[in-house]
């Protein structure tokens, strides 16, 4: 068990003939992911990396059983690509692309949520990985060892650092999901916590948040009410000045929303210990799991 993906997950890659798409499709295959097809409008009929390329997601789902799609389509067409996958009935859609116009995401997320049976992860995210089974993302698989800690994060590199630290310490990762650094994303911390709570392979959850928005506060409220498994928190950007966008479009403190103080208070209220450094994350996990 694991959450969202496993070794049987059949994956299509939207944008497989592009530079990014081709590079990461190959890396995913090397990591053991079952990539069954690619989609690039206008390039249907080709074969790339040993898999067929289709013009539309619908054609791919007609010829293959598809469990998930990962999208590397450039920003102007990225939200449209996510909608295409969702309407073709792909139940898990991972949107890697960064720089997507915000209104495109507002509309796409609303439409996909209305469909009800599709989970969108991202955009502007590194994707997800269940080590040794399925990598549906752009993370370096080598730093993820299979194990018992669930990891969710708004960042890319902090996720990799944390995964490496947990793997080196012997705990390893059950499933790791980067939810993305944009203000409008398909899946938040709170959406994923119940999946980890119900996953027998996950013994503890590490939640790497950052300044901006109130996803961490919502997650803390959920943890307080519903989680039995231990959760360890982390907040990036504590030293950031107000009103400045720190790289991620979503990492900005506006007025009194998104401050580290608010997030730390919410975690304290939910009895979630918060690490100040990535090394401390491991120590706090050790305190919970031994």
């Amino acid at each position: 068990m694991s959450i969202l993906v496993n070794k049987n997950t059949n994956v299509i890659v939207q944008g497989i003939t592009g530079r990014e798409g081709a590079f990461h499709a190959e890396a995913m295959m090397k990591a053991g992911t079952k990539v069954v097809a690619g989609v690039t409008p206008g390039k249907g009929g080709q074969t790339t990396l040993g898999v067929p390329v289709y013009d539309t997601v619908k054609e791919a789902t007609t010829h293959h059983h598809v469990d998930a799609s990962i999208i590397f389509v450039p920003a102007p067409g990225a939200a449209d690509a996510a909608l295409e996958a969702a309407h073709a009935g792909v139940p898990l859609v991972v949107l890697i692309t960064e720089g997507i116009p915000t209104m495109d995401m507002v509309k796409a997320v609303a439409e996909i949520k209305a469909l009800g049976n599709v989970r969108l992860i991202g955009g502007n995210c590194p994707g997800l990985i269940t080590p040794d089974e399925c990598k549906l993302g752009i993370m370096p698989a080598s730093v993820f060892k299979k194990g018992r800690v669930g990891l969710i994060s708004r960042s890319g590199t902090v996720t990799y650092e944390t995964a490496k630290a947990l793997s080196d310490a012997g705990y390893g990762i059950s499933t790791c999901i980067g939810i993305g650094g944009d203000p409008i994303i398909g899946t938040t911390f709170k959406d994923l916590l119940p999946l980890f709570e119900n996953d027998p392979e996950t013994e503890a959850v590490v939640l790497c948040g950052e300044i901006g928005g109130s996803d961490e506060e919502d997650a803390a409220a959920y943890i307080k009410e519903h989680m039995k498994k231990p959760v360890v928190g982390f907040i990036g950007g504590r030293s950031a000045p107000k009103g400045k966008k720190m790289g991620h479009a979503g990492a900005i403190i506006m007025g009194n929303v998104g401050t580290p103080e608010s997030k730390l208070a919410a975690f304290a209220d939910a009895d979630v210990p918060v690490a100040e450094t990535i090394d401390e994350i491991v120590e706090l996990v050790r305190a919970k799991l031994g």
Binding site: V106, A110, E161, G181, E210, G237
Partner: protein
Amino acid sequence: MNLHEYQAKDILAKYGIPVPPGKVAFTADEAKQIASEYGDLVVIKAQVHTGGRGKAGGVKLARNPEEAREKAAQILGLNIKGFITKKVLVAKGINIAKEYYAGMILDRVTQRVVLMLSKEGGMDIEEVAATRPYALIKYPINPHTGLRPFEARELVKRAGMEGNLNKLADVLVKLYQAYVGIDASTAEINPLVISDTGEVVAADAKIVLDDNALYRHPDLMPLREFEAEHPLEVEASNYGFSYVKLDGNVGVIGNGAGLVMYTLDLVQRTGGKAANFLDIGGGAKADVVYNALKVVLKDPDVKGVFINIFGGITRADEVAKGVIRAMDEGILTKPVAMRVAGTAEEEAKALLKGRPVYMYPTSVEAAKAIISMTGGAK
């Protein structure tokens, strides 16, 4: 991207929202000329990318053209929170009966554009939200239908706004059309004025554009003012880096926004203060690191540099080569603490042998080292 008030008003006018007649002046004489065209009370307003203009003396009334010239001369050149006033808006005065607030922002919780409406216009809306939340109505707009006139009318009533209901509602409907039409991330009218003759007018406006969507608005791109941004932020963006100037003395270079934020936190936690945020993005090649150093070291505040790179496939020796090039060209003369998680760390150490560049196995150790070399926050 921030727009000036006059640019925001031009856009609102294009979408059919009434704005007071006004023109931009770059000199006091131009201001006088414009004032004489309006022949009556005018308001002269500094056009700078910051708030709090009124308090800083950047907004003044003038009753005749000569007074307009004098007031414009006082405002032009004024330093408002670090922004030098280079132009003023000269707008026809309005006799105000009521001042309201109407704004639209992106709300992460509802994942929609939210209309905010208040009877308490003309003041800082964040303060209204914090101290009198009941005085601020928030309404998430369905992205598939947009804001419809009946919704706008109901909201005007709910906010307790007095004045012509249809005209007020029409402004809200058009504000949303403008918001979507230009891909804004913020669009505010504050104050939304009811004049003594009952006209509804956008007396001040603020628009921030969504940078991600600028590519589809070639007509708005020329509105970007490089001189209004920090010169190093402009230079960094030319290299594809994300850079934010901060007020400490440790230059920071990293890959990935999350890791760079973490690095700033570590610097602060260790007793120092970062001079900047710089994210090089993916692929830490030698020339990328070299260019990043060039940008960071142009900041005279920087006393030392902390390079923090994570990459499963990033080669530490590539990072080292970028550092060495910067040293050999005399750009880099200050201490460097480096931490690179990747391959070829031994090769990197060999390359750096005998140079004042130190590699540390962890971010925490590198942070301690750079703080001791730069003396910490003053």
